[in-house]
């Protein structure tokens, strides 16, 4: 990076108004060639709107966009790509029924024969270590693999500015490091990178400059290396961050929730099942399950929530009651609540009002149904309580779930389950795509619930989250669960290896394994590697 170089991209006074909201209010900043520039802000701070205008999906109401000091209008994404602006979306714009190759071909404006394109794709994948079979159908790929398509697609266009929207949420620590290697390499070749993330330590590790947005306004442009994560988070939220209050040195109670050799069938060609999963969660314990997306987390959540049942009821026991063979409604009566990863369409019905969504999971425990008739008043009162206690930004219980932002909907869903006072709570990815403020509130709620004597199973890909909340941690890989580890005894390196497919004891006895698929850079402690997949 060179300060004397002209700006590659400069925004001057960008303003964008939606009905009722000022999404961007007079935002100005500049990006140099080869600079990695962070864009930081809570959900709803206007980051997405801003990059959508740079990428030509929306047009600003006021303000100028300068590209290499020329004032430009980015009419559409095609025009953006022509200028050399590439984007990796947070929500992948992929076509499930098409192959990797076809998906990438769709993103290319130049008409390249597919055979030639495949050669190019393989070259880029090789160069940056993004391994993927171009001929696989996207529907069969994991979230992490899908993201690689997006990255390859953007890199093929040889961009001068690459916009990355929350790129690391689904990657292992090793993959994150590897992505950073890719991004630093790109930057050293002169490509500018606009990096949107909530993960402050990543921004500190990677970015040269950070622009912080709050409520559509620019708060600060700073050097993240000179800031602490905390100071940046405070600028982003506008108030002091609350520390998670964890009850000191909790003594765990009796075993509450026992999973014993739980096995499910693989789900068609797409998903994978879980195999012989066993663990015990005690009263007051938060049991974390780490792992890269697509390693059986969904099957595990479905099996624990009761969406998938097994014949052997004893495979899942809650207070000694066998519940493995009964469905979600019966399990809820036993006090087991579950929050799946997908907020819209799985945990909540987007078209329904919030109070109707409350009825869907709380009807029995909160007595919202009497002789087959809904008691709307009860449902609304309960929903009001969820909104108030979890600080959900919503226009009352009549607002549809789909009208809430991701973070607020997640707070509502967590609140809906937690206020039912479940004795066992199973959650998957509770803070995926949620801003730091909401994430902190959700984390605090989980800790409080455990302190009140519930047993919690927390499935997450966010290691920071797991390490800060859990008492016990296990790693899921290809449907198998590692030995549970006390949180004080684990190291990031060990978890990373387990996530990469090295199971149980073998991780300790032979810490040298480099699985073929995920880890490219061998860990430093691997002098005489013996490649083996320890199953």
């Amino acid at each position: 990076m060179n300060d004397r170089l002209p700006n590659r991209l400069e925004l001057i006074g960008i303003t964008k108004r939606f009905p009722g909201v000022l999404a961007n209010d007079n935002v100005s900043f500049a990006v140099k060639p080869g600079e990695i520039h962070a864009l930081l802000g809570e959900n709803g701070a206007g980051k997405s709107t801003l990059v959508k205008m740079i990428y030509g999906i929306m047009q600003p109401d006021a303000g100028d966009i300068l590209w290499n000091n020329q004032e430009i209008t980015v009419a559409n994404p095609k025009a953006a790509r022509k200028l050399g602006i590439g984007m990796v979306f947070q929500h992948f714009s992929l076509f499930d029924a098409l192959t990797v190759l076809e998906n990438i071909a769709l993103g290319m404006d130049a008409k390249i024969p597919q055979r030639e394109l495949e050669v190019k794709i393989r070259a880029v994948m090789q160069q940056y270590g993004l391994l993927l079979d171009p001929r696989r159908t996207v529907a069969t790929l994991s979230v992490g693999e899908r993201q690689r398509i997006e990255i390859v697609r953007a890199l093929l266009l040889d961009p001068k500015l690459l916009i990355m929207d929350e790129p690391t949420s689904v990657l292992t620590p090793q993959e994150v490091e590897q992505l950073f290697v890719v991004l630093r390499k790109l930057a050293s070749e002169g490509c500018s990178i606009l990096y949107i993330s909530h993960k402050l330590h990543e921004i500190k590790a990677l970015c040269d400059t950070a622009t912080i947005l709050r409520g559509g306004k620019l708060v600060d442009t700073c050097d993240p290396k000179e800031e602490t994560s905390r100071s940046m988070a405070e600028k982003m939220i506008g108030a002091g961050l609350k520390e998670i209050k964890k009850p000191a040195n909790t003594l765990l109670g009796r075993p509450k929730f026992i999973v014993d050799r739980l096995t499910t069938r693989p789900d068609g060609a797409v998903g994978i099942g879980i195999a012989e999963v066993s663990f015990t969660v005690h009263v007051g314990e938060i049991f974390g399950i780490a792992g890269v997306a697509g390693n059986g987390q969904n099957a595990l959540l479905d099996a624990l929530s009761g969406e998938i049942t097994v014949r052997r009821g004893e495979a899942i026991r809650l207070d000694e009651a066998p519940i493995g063979a009964v469905g979600p409604t019966e399990r809820r009566r036993h006090g087991l609540s579950a929050v799946p990863e997908e907020r819209n369409g799985h945990a909540a019905v987007p078209e329904f009002a919030l109070y109707d969504n409350s009825v869907l999971t709380a009807r029995d425990r909160m007595k919202m149904v009497r002789s087959g008739l809904l008691r709307r008043g009860v449902a609304k009162t309960y929903t009001d309580k969820v909104i108030a206690e979890f600080a959900v930004k919503a226009q009352g219980p009549n607002a549809t779930a789909g009208s809430l932002s991701g973070g607020n909907l997640q707070k509502y869903i967590m609140g809906r389950e937690i206020l039912q006072n479940p004795s066992v709570l199973v959650v998957s990815q509770p803070t995926w795509g949620v801003d730091a403020g909401a994430a902190a509130a959700i984390h605090q709620a989980l800790v409080d619930l455990a302190a009140e004597g519930s047993a919690i199973v927390l499935i997450s890909q966010d290691l920071d989250e797991l390490l800060s909340l859990c008492n016990t941690l296990a790693v899921i890989n290809e449907g198998r669960l590692s030995r549970p580890m006390n949180i004080e005894d684990v190291s990031i390196e060990e978890i990373g290896l387990l996530m990469g497919g090295v199971h149980g004891e073998s991780a300790e006895m032979a810490p040298t394994v480099v699985p073929p698929t995920t880890i490219v850079a061998p860990t430093p402690m691997a002098p005489e590697a013996e490649p083996a997949h320890a199953h």
Partner: protein, 313 residues
């Protein structure tokens, strides 16, 4: 059953399969782009009458086919305006198109009742179809060969061309296609117009080839069979060809049963023609069940089929 009988049966079956093949190919492309147009029957009738009228006025059946294509495409564009520009419900609008097409074709047809149109010439020199085997290959109307060629054109277009890939992308995930920068509405208009043109030509096959005269509702529900055919073929052009012949056999059995002429089949004499008429729909349901069993709840239907395109603003 002699060889002659079998060959005559095959020739009839290929003939009656052609209109559903034509209309089905059009609807296949429409549905691949994510639009469900239930107005195939109506578009076929409009094609039948415009094709007939143009042929009567010009004396040239080829111009009639062009007219049928234009008539079908225009009625499809009207449907497109409602569902694509005004975002009206596709199912309801498609049904309305069928009702509209039925009525409009009857109205236009009033002044053409009893008229006779000139026929297509034979596709090949008559010498080629003197013996039975020759007839099996060379005796059809040019529209039959056209339909067959279109199977390969549509399959090639969808699988091998960039435009076909874009069209499939629009039908699979309209929002993504939009965010990449493709015109979802534009692609869908073109697909809908193509579907209308093909349905129109399929309709003209009735009024210009099967019975070279106009009769109200002469397509007699074949538009619905074409719709079922697309599902039956699980949205693949090659299977559409096989399916159209299979449905052709069922329609042929129905026609024979109506005429009381199934005596050549043991036990079949007592089966009412309605049974055969119902079979294409029954088989479609069976195929649908088989597909979803194989894919475990999934479906090979385009993911955005029938959904309006509502981009975030």
């Amino acid at each position: 059953m002699g060889t002659d009988f079998v060959i005559a049966a095959i020739i009839t079956i290929i003939g009656i399969s052609t209109p559903i093949l034509l209309a089905g190919l059009g609807e296949l492309v429409v549905e691949k782009a994510g639009v469900l147009n239930l107005g195939v029957e109506g578009m076929m009738l409009i094609g039948a009458i415009t094709g007939f009228a143009v042929t009567v006025m010009t004396g040239n059946p080829w111009l009639g086919v062009l007219g049928a294509a234009a008539g079908g495409a225009l009625s499809a564009l009207l449907f497109g305006f409602f569902v694509l520009t005004l975002n009206s419900n596709q199912v309801a609008t498609g049904l309305a198109l069928t009702i509209f097409g039925t009525g409009l074709s009857s109205l236009i047809g009033l002044s053409f009742v009893g008229r006779i149109v000139p026929q297509f010439g034979s596709s090949f020199p008559p010498a080629l179809s003197r013996d039975p085997i020759g007839r099996l290959f060379f005796s059809y109307s040019p529209l039959v060969y056209f339909a067959l060629a279109m199977v390969f054109v549509v399959a090639w277009f969808l699988r091998r061309t960039r435009s076909g890939l874009i069209l499939r992308a629009v039908g699979e995930n309209d929002l993504s296609a939009h965010s990449i920068g493709y015109s979802v509405i534009g692609v869908r208009y073109l697909a809908v117009a193509f579907g209308g043109a093909m349905a129109g030509i399929g309709g003209a096959y009735f009024s210009l080839v099967i019975t070279p005269m106009w009769a109200e509702r002469m397509t007699s529900g074949r538009g619905w069979i074409a719709l079922a055919l697309v599902v039956f073929a699980s949205w693949k052009a090659g299977r559409l060809l096989i399916g159209s012949l299979f449905f052709g056999v069922l329609m042929w059995l129905e026609l024979n049963a109506k005429a009381g002429g199934l005596s050549f089949m043991p036990y079949a004499g007592s089966i009412p023609s309605q049974f055969w008429a119902a079979m294409p729909y029954l088989m479609t349901v069976v195929v649908l069940a088989l597909i979803s069993m194989r894919d475990r709840g999934g479906s090979s239907a385009p993911a955005c089929l029938g959904k309006p395109f509502l981009p975030a603003t």
